[in-house]
């Protein structure tokens, strides 16, 4: 922010001192604007407009979800926050986030450290771990649906060891953890790639110096790797948190939010409001709440971890 302000003020003083240049500056401004225009337009059409639309939609309602709407104002939000199904989906989303985000970041970090070490066939391993990212989420969900069937391969494997089968998606207790496995299977490889890139950037002389000083592996990890990797870790944590707030396809395909609403993540709840119950107003209100929650989480995460500006 501070740097931007100084850049902006400098040419101003220059222009005041040398008035004849004003014409060129104007032309430059137009050229610059022309370059920025497509991005600005895209931002307005793809970001600002939908957001404004969501807010206005959330203040209107129509009994049938079609045709003229009427102003209901904040009543929409009151009704939404009084709906146990919506509150349940907020709780489920929170539990999901609290467990899955640290888990995925730690797993991604562990894998990145492992694959950054000089081990044989790391390239192949990296590709295999990354591969699920390239598979569409819906396809992953279908694959896991088969794996999780009561008579499927996972229970078959358990039976080989004489163990009782698990219920996975059909059990209120196991369904959310089962979804976490799927989402992590997809996501961890992706986040790992950012961390590997970060690890490659760390100056090897730091480790050499630490070794000379007699630092062990753990000490090196805590004192060099983690601090040096902080920016990548912040990015991964923030981006991962947002992407986990928006998990939808596996829920819609595998559980529809059940059993007993235990996997009703907020995106599924919003989808059902909009496209099953045709209640655009409450879907828009839920979307606005989701955006507010996401913003709040991101702000807190940036605060907690520092923005990295002092680097």
């Amino acid at each position: 922010m501070a740097t931007q302000a100084t850049v902006a003020t400098e040419p101003d003083t220059g222009a005041a001192a040398v008035p004849p240049r004003r014409g060129r500056r104007h032309r430059d401004l137009w050229v610059a604007l022309a370059f920025v225009a497509p991005a600005l337009l895209a931002a307005v059409v793809l970001r600002v407009w939908p957001m404004v639309r969501a807010v206005t939609d959330s203040l209107h309602s129509t009994p049938l979800g079609f045709g003229p709407t009427e102003w209901v104002g904040l009543e929409q939000y009151r009704a939404l926050l009084g709906d146990p199904a919506f509150l349940n989906s907020l709780v489920v989303t929170a539990v999901f986030g609290v467990v899955i985000n640290p888990l995925q970041v730690l797993l991604a970090l562990a894998l990145a450290l492992l694959l950054n070490a000089r081990l044989p066939a790391t390239g192949l391993m990296r590709t295999l771990i990354f591969l699920p990212v390239a598979v569409p989420q819906s396809v992953s969900a279908v694959i896991w649906a088969i794996a999780y069937r009561p008579d499927g391969p996972l229970n078959g494997t358990l039976a080989l060891f004489g163990l009782d089968g698990l219920r996975y998606l059909t059990s209120p207790g196991q369904a959310l953890p089962s979804l976490m496995v799927i989402v992590s299977w997809i996501g961890v490889g992706y986040w790992m790639m950012f961390l590997i890139a970060g690890l490659k950037e760390i100056d090897p002389t730091l480790y050499e110096a630490a070794q000379i000083d007699g630092a062990g592996r753990w000490r090196q990890l805590v004192s060099i790797t983690i601090p040096q990797l902080r920016r990548q870790l912040i990015f991964v944590l923030v981006a991962d948190t947002i992407s986990n707030l928006l998990v939808f396809a596996p829920v819609q395909i595998l559980t529809n939010g059940g059993p007993n609403g235990r996997t009703d993540l907020i995106m599924n709840n919003i989808f059902e409001r909009a496209y099953v119950a045709a209640d655009t107003g409450s879907a828009a209100a839920a979307t606005v709440i989701l955006v507010v929650v996401a913003l709040a989480i991101v702000v807190v995460q940036f605060r907690l971890l520092g923005t990295g500006e002092e680097d």
Partner: protein, 446 residues
């Protein structure tokens, strides 16, 4: 747009007959204008599709591949200028997909399949064009019950194609191995659900993987007969059928039985409705509750099976699901006349209705007679035809026709799924009733 705009272009085309690009442009412009005018108002146009302009219709449905091959071939032979493109979605996605696209006034859907009980809610939302002119032609040709099921507030909003009923299939070999007597095929002698469970368990002890399964687990269509058989009603009551009634003892008892079949392992958990048919056609399951459409699949699979009437609860009455698919026209389609012509052929025309029946029961009366006679080729198909006729005439109970059906079905299907997965029926039904109260509150009561 006005058609007169197109006129100046025609002489130009005539003056330069050799110039293809010019002519092509003229044709293109004329086409675009006709299309635009069709969307504007079709009052001046005759009911049949006139002209030779090529028209492509998009027909969104949730049927198995190949279902419409015959009827499309039959129709396009007579109307070579019309091409019909099928867009087939999974059943569970059909309604939400249609709803989201029509909600956005998307013109890319011309006609689509409507599940009959959803018609009222689609019509009330303005997602279906008025087809009342087709009704007049259909009177006397199509089963009046089906025509009523597809009209809402005195207007015809879709044309019924099929009807349905339910049967109990059994695997002859598995029952023999278990020493269980095969159920009677007499339409008036259905087994009780309790007997089905007991016989299924016996078959499991003798080696069957599963004793029994519903084809459409967790779906209201096939489960409605359970509480209805005990006198529990359809689950909705009162004005406009907008008040939930799913917590009475009959509902609780019916759902407790449903739950028990999964608790005991008689039926499998974690298998969706799309995956149940192979459980029977692979010869793994002793009893299978399904529709007439399953029979040809079982024939193909070569499983040794018999048919019996749909079971009922002991002390209750015999009830069978009914209703099926109808086809409606999108009000945002720019080719409504062509779409209507196809629907007319597929539903009202005896040949078209027969071609469109696939493995289902046509509601077009001539086609239905043909279905019964053609299918009665051996003893088993004769039994099947007799059961179908009996069930349709005596036991068929339609799903409630109400604007709130989509909400109702969504809430209930989730409740069924939860009960199947082990939720306590009384508690879960109470929760469903509360959810329904909230979901249905938005509909105006007159």
């Amino acid at each position: 747009m006005d058609t007169s705009d197109a006129r100046p272009l025609r002489p130009a085309g005539r003056r330069t007959p050799g110039r293809r690009p010019a002519r092509a442009l003229t044709v293109l412009a004329a086409l675009l204008l006709t299309a635009a005018c069709q969307s504007g108002g079709s009052a001046e146009q005759p009911p049949q599709v006139s002209g030779d302009e090529p028209v492509t219709l998009t027909f969104v449905n949730a049927q198995d591949p190949g279902t419409f091959d015959e009827v499309i071939a039959g129709f396009t032979e007579a109307n070579p200028n019309i091409t019909i493109t099928l867009e087939t979605l999974p059943f569970d996605d059909l309604n939400s997909s249609v709803q989201s696209r029509l909600g956005a006034k998307d013109a890319s859907i011309d006609l689509y399949d409507v599940d009959e009980p959803r018609l009222a809610s689609f019509a009330a939302r303005g997602y279906l064009a008025d087809l009342s002119d087709l009704r007049a032609e259909a009177e006397g040709k199509i089963d009046p019950k089906a025509l009523d099921a597809t009209s809402y507030q005195g207007k015809q909003y879709a044309m019924p194609r099929w009807t349905s009923t339910q049967l109990l299939y059994y695997n002859t070999e598995l029952l023999e191995d278990a020493g269980v007597e095969a159920p009677s095929s007499d339409p008036s002698q259905p087994m009780t659900w309790q007997e089905v469970a007991a016989a299924g368990e016996q078959a499991q002890q003798a080696g069957a993987k599963y004793g029994f399964t519903f084809e459409q687990v967790d779906r209201y269509y096939q489960l409605q007969p359970l509480p209805e058989s005990l006198g529990g009603g359809p689950g909705l009551e009162g004005e406009g059928l907008l008040t939930p009634a799913v917590t009475n003892p009959a509902w609780v008892e019916a759902m407790s039985w449903y739950k028990s079949t999964f608790d005991s392992g008689l039926s499998p958990r974690g298998i969706t409705a799309e995956q149940t048919t192979p459980l029977f056609s692979d010869g793994e399951t002793a009893f299978f509750a399904g529709g007439p459409w399953n029979a040809p699949l079982f024939d193909e699979a070569g499983v040794d099976y018999g048919v019996a009437p749909f079971p009922m609860f002991e002390g209750g009455r015999a009830v069978s699901s009914t209703g099926s698919w109808a086809t409606g026209v999108s009000p945002f389609s720019e080719k409504q006349e062509a779409a209507k012509a196809f629907i007319r052929y597929m539903t009202t025309d005896a040949t078209g209705a027969w071609q469109a029946s696939s493995r289902n029961l046509p509601v077009q009366q001539e086609a239905f007679s043909r279905y019964l006679s053609e299918n009665a080729s051996d003893t088993r198909s004769e039994q099947l035809a007799a059961i179908i006729e009996h069930e349709l005439a005596n036991n068929a109970v339609a799903r409630p026709t109400t604007v709130g059906f989509v909400d109702f079905e969504t809430v209930m299907n989730k409740a069924f799924a939860d009960i199947r997965n082990g939720s306590e029926p009384a508690e879960r039904l109470q929760q469903a009733a509360e959810e329904l109260d909230r979901a249905l509150a938005k509909y105006p009561r007159e």
